[in-house]
Symmetry: C2
Subunit: 415 residues, 2 copies
């Protein structure tokens, strides 16, 4: 691990090898920021004081209220900025370290800033690419002997989600109301969802678009992906169940999705690549790919009741994906669908093979039949009002830790 003059624990997950991107409100302005250890670094100020050497076009994007314009400049600009930041903050470089006034203007604590939505999302797509998750859901709601639907092994199933209600970590989530069909009732009722759930997901952010009518191949896909964030695809199971046939999930999802404030670049995650799973039956040629396209990122979900302790309810891993990002993007654009900078594609719930690695309360408690014991002695079938759901992600190997940060959201009672 490279050493920085910003002191931080080896376990912080934000060493000089990470250098993620986010957007913060700082002193009434917005700025593109990065993070080393617990220190937030204002890249706009870093350029203003002459440490970060970028042209006027790049510099202008560093005061925007989203990463979109910065991402639009291309990966070479992003790579140059990451490389420069790694040098400016390297242990042996005393220039900024020894200039107290500039340092005070550039380096802040998390308490000094408000992290904002990092990207302005145009379209948001949710995939369904963990085989274990699709199998669990199929077993519960359809035929246990034929849990996977016929198309599942042939294409990365996905659907369009709601972009407007994606919010950043820290934003409280209001329990949604809607139509529910109680068991054995003749007619639906109106009320607050009783089966509020999280879904543990990762999302990738488009940094380079394509024109309408043009396909993105699996080989080109990663050029279009700027980076990754943690993603909580909030789900109201009872609303979803009544509405979703035949056109798919709608209001059971669109009340909110939560993302982490840091977009971690694929470059930072490069050491954590893995070969894919064997895909049998063989996929169609447009879904074939070369190279290591899966990522080993440890994920966990915790529930913290108001005033109480965190209870770990899930340990999973982003490697539990049957379909990788390159396949998802190639499939998404096989019909010529155009991607814009800032569009997001989430993975679908990431569940592993064993109990304890399931990425939703639906699976963890098996539809509420096996409640989870909380550290305060209470139980959970789904998420209660006042609970804070926390997702964290970290890639680690040979002493290097790259954190994806966390997404943390408290559930408020229905209005």
């Amino acid at each position: 691990m490279k050493q920085s003059w910003i002191e931080h624990a080896a376990t912080s997950g934000f060493p000089l090898e990470n250098i993620p991107f986010g957007v913060a409100r700082i002193r009434e302005c917005t700025a593109v920021v990065t993070r080393i250890g617990d220190t937030i670094i204002d890249l706009q100020a870093l350029a203003q004081h002459g440490y970060l050497n970028v042209n006027a076009d790049v510099r202008e994007t560093l005061s925007h209220d989203s990463l979109n314009s910065f991402m639009e400049l291309g990966k070479e600009v992003m790579r140059d900025v990451r490389a420069q930041v790694a040098k400016i903050f390297a242990a042996e470089n005393g220039k900024l370290r020894d200039h107290a006034e500039h340092r005070a203007h550039i380096c802040m604590t998390e308490a000094d800033v408000t992290m904002l939505m990092p990207v302005r999302v145009g379209d948001y797509t949710d995939f369904y690419s963990s085989r274990q998750h699709a199998t669990n859901v199929g077993k519960m709601f359809r035929d246990p002997a034929n849990a996977l639907l016929p198309n599942w092994l042939h294409l990365p199933v996905g659907y369009h989600g709601r972009a407007s209600s994606i919010v950043v970590s820290g934003t409280p989530i209001r329990r949604p109301k809607g139509q529910l069909m109680p068991a054995d009732a003749d007619a639906p009722v109106y009320g607050a969802s009783r089966l509020l759930d999280f879904e543990l997901e990762m999302a990738f952010v488009i940094g380079k678009g394509n024109s309408l009518g043009e396909q993105i191949t699996t080989g080109a896909a990663e050029d279009h992906i700027f980076g990754l964030s943690l993603f909580n695809d909030w789900s109201a199971r009872d609303i979803q169940k009544w509405e979703y046939v035949p056109l798919g999930p709608f209001l059971g999802k669109s009340f909110a999705s939560s993302i982490s404030p840091w977009i971690v670049t694929l470059d930072a995650l490069d050491p954590f690549r893995l070969d894919g799973p064997v895909q049998e039956p063989k996929v169609l040629p447009y879904l074939e790919y070369e190279g290591e396209k899966r990522f080993d990122i440890e994920l966990e979900v915790l529930i913290q009741p108001r005033g109480g302790e965190e209870t770990l309810v899930c340990r999973s891993n982003y490697k539990n994906m049957y379909w990788n990002m390159a396949q998802q993007l190639a499939h998404h654009t096989v019909n010529g669908c155009n991607m814009n900078v800032g569009d997001m594609c989430a993975s679908g719930t990431i569940s592993g093979d064993e109990e304890g690695s399931y990425g939703s309360m639906l699976e963890i408690t098996w539809r509420g039949t096996k409640p989870v014991a909380m550290s305060d002695g209470t139980e959970r079938k789904f998420i209660n009002d006042g609970d804070t759901v926390i997702m964290r992600g970290v890639a680690q190997k040979d002493g290097l830790r790259i954190s994806l940060g966390e997404v943390r959201s408290e559930v408020l009672p229905a209005l």
Copy 2:
């Protein structure tokens, strides 16, 4: 009908009572425009020359490349602009009429301008609100005796669509490729869609948003709706069929949707309101509404082979809606989902009760079993390469005609 000094046929559909809004490229710039008869009126130039009296904030929005900022100013501004335009162009008002130089700068023909996408669409939702369409689809693909699914009469079924691929009338549509599952095959194949279809729809545009967590009631809904456009929800039936279970339509829709360039305000359509259909079973209280919320707008679809004549294939009416816009918007936000200015909600295919009034080739040809005879002697089961699909809409009553314009798109062969 009010008389204008701009000469136009009584049948034009763009009298002083219409005054719709669009965006055009004019001499390398963009401007918000309206239309009287066949004359396009540059509202930015109308303000610049002092005829349209608006403050600097309003005037600034008139040079944007979408209506979003103008819509965001609120309905009072829109109403004021429509009222002023009606006066400036009234037959008895000679001020602009008699100023040839100003007139040349402000008034253009369609050939002088390029009509652009009128709105920047954030999120797009497609409903499924014509009972006859849902019944036809249910009969074809599910159980003829129970064609409507259990939720259909209780809520306006809808799903999230793709916003990025909505294009304006005149934009050619590329036949999409994708995965298809041939009948009796063991595995899917990759290829161009063979079952390319249109769906005749209307879409409403959000002019006033709501905050995340806040509901819009049926009573307030129309305050949030700026106006209506024609909407062709292109569908690749074979791609859709293989992919859509369990999460709904995705690539079978996301390759393109086409809209008309003119947004016609609800104010202009006010004389064409109708009572709703009886809704039985009774809807839940949040879906109850007062007043006339359906609109009598005659719709037609024509197919024109390259170099050939138009053949009329459908005559329907926007009144063939079971769920109205107010109910759709109240349902969409019942869970607190936030709407942004520029979001679009389409109706779903608008089919009437009789053959001849069905709004898609799927229904018109009953899955291809009853081909349509074209005026050039050929037949159509679905849409061929080189066909131009044309949708038109007009509301008429007591000599007043309000046109929705048209949406016209040629289908190009797959790449």
